[in-house]
């Protein structure tokens, strides 16, 4: 079937799909007339029940922590897949000689630019850590803060010194961090099973809402997920970086 035939068939099915979607969405309550029960109940009692002021993170890491376990391992498995596929391509010869490493730098990278990037790294790591830790209090949490944490060493890459990113975020350390994060989150769930009888039940003292060490296991879960997400992204970026910058084919 050539391309025009395919597009015509898609056109007909798209019209049918759009009709079905519109008819289905018309049966939903009007936009703004929210009638669900679960959300209203959580909004009403969430702070007093779980001592956390950010209810989205409370749902993520405490009330629906089991779903987050599944999602987190999807992330882990995807990055595992990336590593497996891209490392198999390494039958080619690697070329990280020193003079080539000097070539692999952006032509316009002046010293001021590199100094700026270097100054940004601690700022981004601190910001990422802040967002991870304050997940239970303000908008934030493990997932967002993890990506910001990973963007710290990426500033080295963006400053033009491509291969130095592997020095700032060495591969074994990053992989270990990711695995420890994933394992840590599962261990918190097991801790709930051992100490409180239910998998992922909050077994640490809840504290007062609004303080940093409140809401029981939420800061710990946030840190575990932040470690895992930042490790996963750094591993993924390093694999793509190796493919694009370091490996040249034989002959």
């Amino acid at each position: 079937m050539n391309r025009t035939g395919r597009l015509i068939m898609f056109g007909i099915s798209a019209v049918a799909l759009a009709a079905v979607l519109v008819k289905g969405f018309a049966g939903l309550p009007h936009f703004g007339d929210y009638t669900g029960v679960y959300g209203t109940v959580i909004n009403g009692i969430g702070v007093t029940e779980r001592h956390a002021t950010d209810l989205v993170t409370a749902l993520n890491f405490d009330l629906r922590a089991f779903d987050t376990l599944g999602e987190e391992f999807i992330l882990f498995a995807s990055i595992l897949g990336v590593v497996l596929i891209l490392r198999e391509l390494r039958e080619e010869r690697e070329h990280p000689h020193q003079e080539e490493a000097e070539e692999h730098s952006f032509a316009g990278a002046s010293a001021a630019w590199r100094a700026l990037a270097l100054g940004l790294i601690p700022a981004m790591i601190v910001l990422g850590g802040y967002i991870v830790l304050h997940g239970a209090l303000t908008p934030g949490g493990g997932f967002q803060g993890g990506v910001i944490l990973a963007a710290g060493p990426l500033a080295v890459f963006l400053a033009g010194r491509y291969l130095r990113m592997k020095v700032v975020a060495p591969q074994p350390l990053v992989e270990a961090g990711e695995s420890i994060g994933a394992l840590g989150y599962a261990l918190i769930g097991l801790g709930g099973l051992i100490f409180a009888g239910v998998f992922f039940k909050n077994f640490l003292p809840l504290g007062t809402p609004g303080h940093l060490l409140s809401a029981g296991q939420m800061p710990l879960a946030s840190i575990a997920v932040g470690l895992e997400v930042s490790g996963a992204f750094l591993v993924g970026w390093t694999e793509f970086l190796d493919q694009a910058m370091v490996i040249k084919e034989q002959g």
């Binding site: 949490g141 967002q144 990506v147 963007a151 970026w237 793509f240 493919q243 694009a244 910058m245 040249k248």
Partner: protein, 87 residues
């Protein structure tokens, strides 16, 4: 209102991402589309979601896509050179 404006921007941005020809340009349009989505999530009173979307669509995705494009271009050059040597 603000929500109608944000929804219009998102609808037009999605169409722009799909219709752009060159993958490199499409990456840039995707970055801007991510910013439009962030404003939409913000207007829908979802700050957590907006934070997540902005870090992913400005830092997470474009880095990987640009590195992929560079790798593909390298491979194309090597395959062309290989064909010249054979023929």
């Amino acid at each position: 209102m603000l929500q109608i404006a944000a929804l219009t921007v998102v609808a037009l941005g999605g169409l722009a991402v799909v219709l752009t020809g060159d993958p490199l340009r499409q990456t840039m349009v995707l970055g801007i589309y991510g910013l439009g989505l962030t404003m939409l999530f913000f207007v829908f009173q979802a700050p957590d979601v907006a934070l997540s979307e902005i870090v992913i669509s400005t830092v997470g995705l474009p880095v990987m896509i640009l590195l992929t494009l560079r790798k593909v271009r390298q491979q194309q050059r090597e395959q062309a050179r290989g064909k010249e040597d054979d023929g």
